[in-house]
């Protein structure tokens, strides 16, 4: 079973990299650009047929290592 995990900085945490990317895109003329937050993406494959159990394991991976919960949020999507 394959999952996508997206990790982003929490709303109230400053994202200087996202800001620079945003400013650069604005310089390139992307006028309707409103906001950019930069994040991380993990594609995770695990041997487990039960989706609930699989998601539980992915959650554990996120909490134990992949995500710093002080500053980051995450979303899990099945692929």
């Amino acid at each position: 079973m394959k999952f996508a995990v997206t990790v982003t900085l929490k709303k109230d945490v400053l994202d200087p990299q996202g800001k620079v990317v945003q400013d650069t895109l604005a310089n390139l003329g992307m006028k309707s650009l409103k906001n950019i937050r930069q994040g991380k993406f993990f594609e995770i494959e695990i041997e487990e047929r039960n989706q609930l159990k699989a998601e539980e394991l992915i959650n554990e991976m996120c909490k134990k290592l992949l995500v710093n919960l002080i500053i980051e949020d995450y979303k899990i999507n099945k692929l």
């Binding site: 945490v13 400053l14 200087p16 990299q17 620079v20 134990k64 290592l65 992949l66 710093n68 002080i70 500053i71």
Partner: protein
């Protein structure tokens, strides 16, 4: 006094700290991260560098390494733990110190000698300094922008757990004297029991007048005391 310096792949201040410790008469041992037992230690140092190439987040992988379990056990039994630079980042990733180190607000790696103020001089790490003494210590980091939530920040202030704050040469703590954007100019913090110190500046680089100054010596002298 026995000290141990933990070495990870990518540590690069491990020998500097070993030289500083030996100069101050510590009996020091280097401990490779794959070892599962610590030598008898009164002080454990987690040195600066780029452990595991800063993969995932600075300090994230080192924070889950084999030897870290032993460091956590030692910390809980009261052993002194000093994390410098990447060592501070690793300590936050283990949860021994709260908060985290974000990217510098100017998005640049900063290598420069900055002034820091000794905020709490009544700990085992700082007793040889005067209260509010201004030190000139080198910083060299990309992620030194300390961040924590409001509750923890209040706790740091109320329980006197802020070790050092960035300041100007006269000791004024202001945004201009903040090199990396750290919340409240924080350069170093203690845990509640004050046996763990995490700091971004490098005291081990300031132990010899020949190459810098000796503002870092009293940190090691305090521990020795």
């Amino acid at each position: 006094m026995n000290s141990s310096v933990i070495v990870f792949p990518g540590s690069n201040c491990d020998r500097d700290i070993a030289i500083a410790l030996e100069k101050m008469q510590f009996k020091n041992k280097m401990v490779w991260h794959k070892e599962s037992k610590l030598p008898k230690s009164d002080l454990i140092v987690i040195p600066g560098g780029f452990s595991y190439g800063d993969y995932l987040r600075s300090g994230a992988i080192a924070g889950k390494s084999l030897i870290i379990n032993e460091v956590i056990k030692a910390a809980k039994s009261g052993c002194l733990i000093l994390g410098i630079c990447n060592g501070f980042q690793i300590l936050t990733e283990t949860g021994l110190l709260k908060g985290t180190l974000l990217r510098n607000r100017n998005l640049k790696f900063i290598n420069s000698d900055v002034n820091i103020k000794v905020i709490n001089n009544s700990t085992k790490f700082t007793s040889k300094y005067k209260s509010n003494q201004v030190l000139k210590i080198n910083i060299a980091h990309n992620e030194g922008n300390y961040f924590t939530d409001k509750d923890h920040l209040n706790k740091l202030k109320n329980e006197n757990l802020i070790a050092f704050q960035y300041c100007d040469i006269n000791g004024n703590i202001s945004d201009q004297s903040n090199p990396n954007g750290a919340i409240e100019n924080i350069a170093g913090i203690y845990n509640s029991k004050k046996n763990i110190l995490g700091m971004m500046p490098h005291p081990e680089r300031m132990v010899d007048n020949l190459i810098s100054n000796t503002d870092g010596i009293n940190l090691f002298a305090s521990i020795m005391n």
